[in-house]
């Protein structure tokens, strides 16, 4: 019951009514109605009733269901602190990292709908197949190309240089796939490399230690690369790390244009 003493004296009747309201609110807040996707591509929503706790995350809800109500529920998680990028799901229609998403932020009238991420093949329940997502990182040539042996010492990178700042702005990606799930273009064109792979390529194009910046540009300037992006910013608005893949993709467009004019592509 909330402490009402700080709000001045109340009549006994008013206090009783106040207590009634408070109790009613607590009662309805005690449980959550949770609809969870079950099955693969052809599935259904199954409803569960879960206790509502303070500071409860959506991952806590899913874990409660799996441990207390239905041990056959499949889902993926690891670190539980927003570092590993394993627990992304669709919560009330939006892709989110469930370990850092508080129930109180997303519940609508005490209800939560949890589904697997969009744009990924569904394996079972909330687990999706991430293979295509990471294959596209490979296709985007989004891997570092070394130039010098480690024995030559550390490369000196000026922290105030433009390239370092551009790379820093995009480097904190945890590979959760939320941007990929949020991207309409991926849903229209399954070959599109997607925001995460292009964002990673952008960090490498700006890495002064990388040995093949034009190789990265060549890989992403293809048919389903950075030029396919419509700049709708679904990726940017949903990225849990507040990165802007849209800005990275715009950078790739600029750099590839410049490389084209120089005859490097």
């Amino acid at each position: 019951m909330p402490d009402i003493r700080g709000y001045g004296a109340l009549s006994g009747c008013a206090q009783e009514k106040n207590e009634d309201r408070a109790l009613t609110a607590v009662e309805t807040d005690k449980t959550l109605k949770v609809d969870i996707w079950r099955g693969g591509e052809d599935g259904y929503y199954q409803s569960f009733t879960v206790p509502h706790e303070n500071s409860q995350t959506v991952l806590d809800v899913v874990t409660y269901v799996q441990r207390k109500l239905d041990p056959t529920l499949s889902y993926r998680f690891s670190c539980r602190v927003g570092m590993c990028g394993s627990c992304a799901m669709t919560v009330n229609g939006r892709p989110r990292w469930t370990c850092r998403t508080h129930v109180d932020l997303v519940a609508e009238d005490g209800c939560i709908e949890i589904a697997p991420m969009r744009n990924f093949p569904r394996i079972k329940d909330l687990a999706v197949d991430m293979t295509v997502f990471f294959d596209k990182w490979r296709d985007a040539n989004a891997r570092f190309v070394p130039t010098e042996a480690e024995l030559d010492g550390f490369a000196e990178v000026d922290p105030d240089s433009r390239e370092r700042k551009e790379a820093s702005a995009a480097i904190e990606c945890i590979g959760c796939g939320i941007c990929y799930a949020a991207c309409d273009l991926v849903s229209w064109n399954p070959d599109y490399l997607g925001p995460a792979a292009l964002n990673r390529a952008w960090t490498l194009v700006n890495d002064v230690r990388d040995g093949d910046p034009n190789g990265h540009l060549k890989a992403v300037a293809g048919d389903a690369g950075c030029h396919a992006c419509h700049s709708q910013q679904g990726c940017t608005s949903h990225c849990p790390k507040s990165l802007s893949p849209t800005a990275s993709i715009a950078g790739l467009k600029r750099k590839s244009f410049a490389a084209l004019l120089k005859g490097a592509l």
Binding site: K218, G222, D223, H227, F257, L265
Partner: protein, 111 residues
């Protein structure tokens, strides 16, 4: 489809947009100015035939629209329909030619 072609199409669409932006403003401004005293074919022709700048401007306009619209149409067809890429490209080329033919036909009429 090669990456270089996609890149060139991207560049062409952006450059044609840069040409179109000021021309659309001039076109809209002229329309608002021209309709003040009523609108008639004779009045329009007297203006467009008075200076060579008008047919030249609309000629550039037509070329930019044909390029910009065709590339955009190609992208829409490729993303929103199950048609093959070559079909989408063929439709875009036909659209480009149609806009050029109709457009220059109109420019010739006002010159």
């Amino acid at each position: 489809m090669s990456g270089r072609l996609e890149l060139w199409l991207f560049v062409l669409q952006r450059m044609s947009a840069m040409v179109l932006a000021p021309l659309v403003l001039v076109h809209l401004g002229t329309m608002i100015y021209a309709v003040q005293g009523g609108l008639s074919a004779a009045e329009m022709l007297s203006r467009t035939q008075s200076q060579v700048i008008w047919p030249v401007m609309y000629g550039i306009f037509i070329v930019a629209v044909a390029i910009h619209g065709a590339i955009g149409l190609r992208a829409i067809i490729r993303e929103m329909t199950p048609l093959l890429d070559t079909t989408a490209s063929a439709i875009a080329v036909l659209f480009c030619l149609l806009v050029l033919i109709l457009g220059f036909n109109a420019v010739e009429a006002i010159a």
